[in-house]
């Protein structure tokens, strides 16, 4: 290794900051470090490409406003809103318990009705 890795790390850090902030004068930055130009050129160009490719994205205004209202409690925080932001596993478990409970109740009610119909026949 011709140069200390930390020197190269510092150079890449400074160059990246300059590219992200769209500052001119990258050459000046490179000359401040004891790193050969050929070693950094490929990496500097890569940093440029990353800066072009990775750009921020904003949520829709509608979503931002709706979420703010929900968080601030200005909108009715009903059961649906509460359930909506639970982890999917909890939602699925909740749905299974609800359906299971409903089926059990229905089954028991059906059994009671069937028993009631059978009683006169026994007499």
């Amino acid at each position: 290794m011709a140069q200390e890795p930390t020197e190269l790390q510092d150079l890449l850090d400074a160059v990246t900051e300059a590219i992200i902030n769209e500052d001119a004068g990258l050459d000046k930055i490179v000359t401040r470090y004891d790193v050969s130009r050929s070693d950094v050129e490929g990496l500097v160009s890569l940093v440029h490409r990353l800066h072009v490719a990775l750009v921020g994205v904003r949520p829709s205004r509608r979503f931002a406003q709706r979420l703010r209202l929900e968080l601030m409690g200005q909108e009715r925080r009903g059961v649906i809103n509460r359930v909506r932001y639970l982890p999917p596993r909890v939602q699925i478990a909740g749905a299974i318990v609800l359906v299971g409970g409903f089926m059990l109740l229905r089954h028991r009610r059906h059994s009671v009705e069937a028993d009631a119909q059978e009683v006169p026949a026994l007499r």
Partner: protein, 207 residues
């Protein structure tokens, strides 16, 4: 108790002038506007981060909402102690995204297609195609990086965070972040070169 804290912490008129930690203190007393200000400050950043990690707006909205609901529910338990509020929020986002990937068994990748398309809108058509190809190669190479390296690139290039801020989120020192960034760039450059050379050898075989 909350009333007492409310009386002790006098609420200034302009919340925008307050530091995060002051807003957190107010939010702990039940001041919803203070939490609202924190929400305004970090919504775009958290949304952007989650969007890159999930790759679609629907899940990004869902997970972003969960991040803020979770933050609001647990803000009482938050104490700064070396982890700024921003880092705490990103950690919540990171954990929720990790759960999301685990639940779906999806590969942890950064989808970049829409961003690449958006960044090329103003270019001439022939240059667009060339750039698109180049950026596709870059996207594919990023996808092959380990998750922590993808996360680092996002925090640096999308979120524009400093090494100290990234370190607080990733639980690393600034020096370690710098070193990881250096290794990430080298790995990415090697990936791109390997992809280039395998593409060239394929073309020469065809020719």
């Amino acid at each position: 108790m909350i009333n007492l804290r409310k009386r002790l912490i006098r609420r200034p008129k302009n919340l925008k002038q307050l530091a995060d930690i002051e807003l957190v203190d107010l939010a702990k007393t039940g001041d919803k506007d203070a939490f609202g200000e924190l929400y305004e400050r970090y919504l775009d950043k958290i949304y952007s981060y989650v969007y890159y990690r999930t790759g679609n707006h629907h899940d990004a909205e869902d997970l972003t909402a969960r991040v803020f609901f979770r933050a609001m529910a647990h803000i009482d338990g938050y104490t700064e102690r070396g982890v700024p509020f921003q880092a705490w929020l990103y950690r919540i986002a990171h954990n929720l995204v990790a759960n999301w990937h685990r639940d779906r068994g999806r590969r942890k990748v950064i989808p970049l297609d829409e961003f690449i398309a958006a960044s090329l809108k103003s270019d001439a058509p022939d240059k667009q195609a060339e750039d698109q190809e180049e950026l596709k190669a870059l996207r594919d190479a990023i996808r092959r990086l380990p998750e922590e390296r993808q996360q680092l690139l996002l925090l640096k290039f999308v979120e524009h965070l400093s090494n100290a801020e990234i370190g607080a989120i990733m639980d690393r020192t600034e020096g370690a972040v710098k070193s990881l960034y250096h290794r990430t760039l080298i790995a990415l450059r090697d990936e791109l070169q390997n992809a280039d050379s395998s593409q060239s050898s394929l073309e020469s075989k065809k020719g």
